[in-house]
């Protein structure tokens, strides 16, 4: 298991290096490139050339890349040109990452708490109207563009329920400890700050949760259907065990294997949805930074955030594989 983990981590380093080289090379050959980004399209050829030399852009791409890696090792990923012009890319990432983590946590929590029980009930009542309605509902959930749903929630739910529709917190005087606004309030005892942060979280979290919810629901339903057909469930019934024991120990414990994988994959993929959701709710996380970065072509920020997204995604997938081994004795004891 340890060897497997190490091999996967080495693989991750390789993937990150290849990906960063690709991104780096592409950004350099773009028409315009960083020089235009810094000086604007109408700069004089002389000043362009001077800046090109100054930034080392006249050197071969590999030299540039290794220099970039050297700087990156010291935490210097360049300066933002569009998201928060002038701020360092790393600073922007560190500042915004907790927000996205917090949002993702609540989104996946909602998706699990709703998706797993619904999937179980739908499977148990296969073919009933409840099953049919929830299956079609989950298919619609996948068909609705996330950002449109976010706008509808923002426009309809926020005015109907009086929930805030943008930002992470109102401009209240809250102490910052961890950067997780809900947690900070709990630590310092400023409960109104926690509540306020939660109010800001709820709508974007629901919007972000729709797709993972739909996927988790369908996988749970399919997995439970598969397990209900298994011989060992019949054995459990033949032992006269009570329904709760059969459900928990025999059905769910087996059905959880594919569900856990799905939850992991969906957690990793949340960042895609976060780009759209955070933009709609002006929720100042990594997703919003990416959205603005794409729009304004802020390459230093994009480069760092995409590399970070890769690392997070691959690590989450690795954790999924490892947890899979933990819950499935057939893999663990091999």
């Amino acid at each position: 298991m340890l060897r497997y983990t190490i091999r996967r981590l080495i693989q991750l380093v390789g993937v990150v290096l290849v990906l960063s080289l690709l991104l780096f090379a592409w950004l350099r050959v773009l028409p315009g490139g960083p020089v235009s980004a810094l000086l604007g399209e109408r700069a004089t050829p002389e000043s362009r050339e001077a800046l090109t030399k100054q930034l080392g852009l006249d050197q071969p791409i590999f030299v540039q890349y290794f220099k970039f890696l050297g700087r990156a090792a010291t935490g210097d990923f360049g300066v933002s040109t569009g998201v928060q012009p002038g701020d360092s890319a790393l600073e922007i990432f560190l500042q915004r990452f907790p927000a996205t983590l917090e949002l993702s946590f609540f989104a996946i929590l909602i998706a699990i708490l709703v998706g797993v029980p619904l999937g179980y009930i739908a499977a148990k009542r296969r073919g009933s109207w409840f099953d049919n309605v929830s299956v079609v509902g989950s298919l619609i959930g996948v068909a609705v563009p996330v950002f449109f749903l976010a706008y509808v929630l923002k426009g309809v739910a926020s005015s109907a329920l009086g929930l805030p529709s943008s930002g992470r917190q109102d401009a209240i005087d809250a102490t910052r400890v961890t950067g997780f606004f809900t947690l900070d309030g709990m630590i310092t005892g400023e409960w109104d700050a926690t509540l306020n942060a939660l109010e800001h979280l709820i709508l974007p979290a629901i919007a972000l949760a729709t797709i993972p919810f739909a996927v988790i629901f369908r996988i749970t339903r399919a997995a439970v259907l598969d397990v209900l057909d298994e011989d060992f469930v019949r054995t459990a019934e033949s032992k006269g065990l009570t329904a709760p024991v059969i459900r928990r120990r025999h059905v769910l414990r087996n059905a959880m294997l594919p569900v856990v994988t799905t939850i992991g994959l969906q957690t990793g993929a949340l960042l895609s949805g976060a780009v759209l959701t955070e933009k709609v709710f002006s929720f100042s996380g990594v997703g919003e930074a990416l959205a603005i970065g794409f729009e304004r072509r802020d390459y230093p920020v994009l480069l760092l955030l995409i590399i970070m997204a890769t690392i997070v995604y691959v690590v989450v997938n690795l954790l999924v594989d490892l947890s899979y081994a933990l819950i499935d004795p057939r893999i663990r004891t091999r």
Partner: protein, 305 residues
Amino acid sequence: MVLGLSAKKEKIDATAGVSLAASAWKRLRRSPVFLTGAVIIGLFILVSLLAPWLAPHNPADPMLIDQVVKARNEIPPSQPGHPLGGDLQGRDFLSRVLVGSQQTLIVGVVATLFGLTGGLILGTLAGALGGWVDSLVMRVVDVMLSLPSLLLAFSIAAMFSRPSQFTVILAVSIVQIPVFARLLRGSMLAQRHSDHVLAATALGVKKGAIVFRHMLPNSLGPVIVQSTLVLATAIIEAAALSFLGLGNPDDRTPEWGQMLGDVQKVFDTHPHLAAWPAICIIIVALGFTLMGETLREALDPKNRR
């Protein structure tokens, strides 16, 4: 004699009726879910083919521009001849929604075909040849799968300094390549050691012929299912690209995703401008998904009872 022959033929047909494709079709034909999806997609294709004749006006013509008052955020309201009114540029909105189906269909189909072709080539090579080709292809696939697919599509689209319909299609299709590649490679690998391929090899059938006549056709089921589902995601992802400003900036020829992408400009004041293309996208994506999911279930040998 003739009678005997026909009786025998019937018996053969009876056994042919249990083949996977045939039994799948038998179940699909009776499935209300599949039929709903098929009807939606049929209507969608019909509308997009007939759009030039269905649309009352030229979707690029700002014929109602004098009713657009930028300062007061006014757009042409519903009126005789223009049941849905006009858009921000004073173009007939109904015509734009109807004609928009064309480009949407093109984006979905072309993106799926690109992704499918790329994945077909990579996956077939990797699965059929194995060895270093397989390793190389899988490393490429690994790198592409090390980012959430939608984020990869955003990143690819952002790499073009001049976005267009083509870059949108390219971004959406490239992220589908590894999915198709994996699907085909897996199926190929599973078949390389299966009895029917061994039998063909033992008979001296050439490798190419085995791949194209035996292995590929057997992988078609899951590929068709995946393609149907990708048609839905491609349309939705194209809309997301437009929303992030990575879509086609030229809006003379309308496309639903592009129309919906402008949602931030119009949602508070004229929500119907976003709602119409959104509803169209949701219905069409649902249609493709319903077909894909029921196809998957019908082609799954596990469900064959």
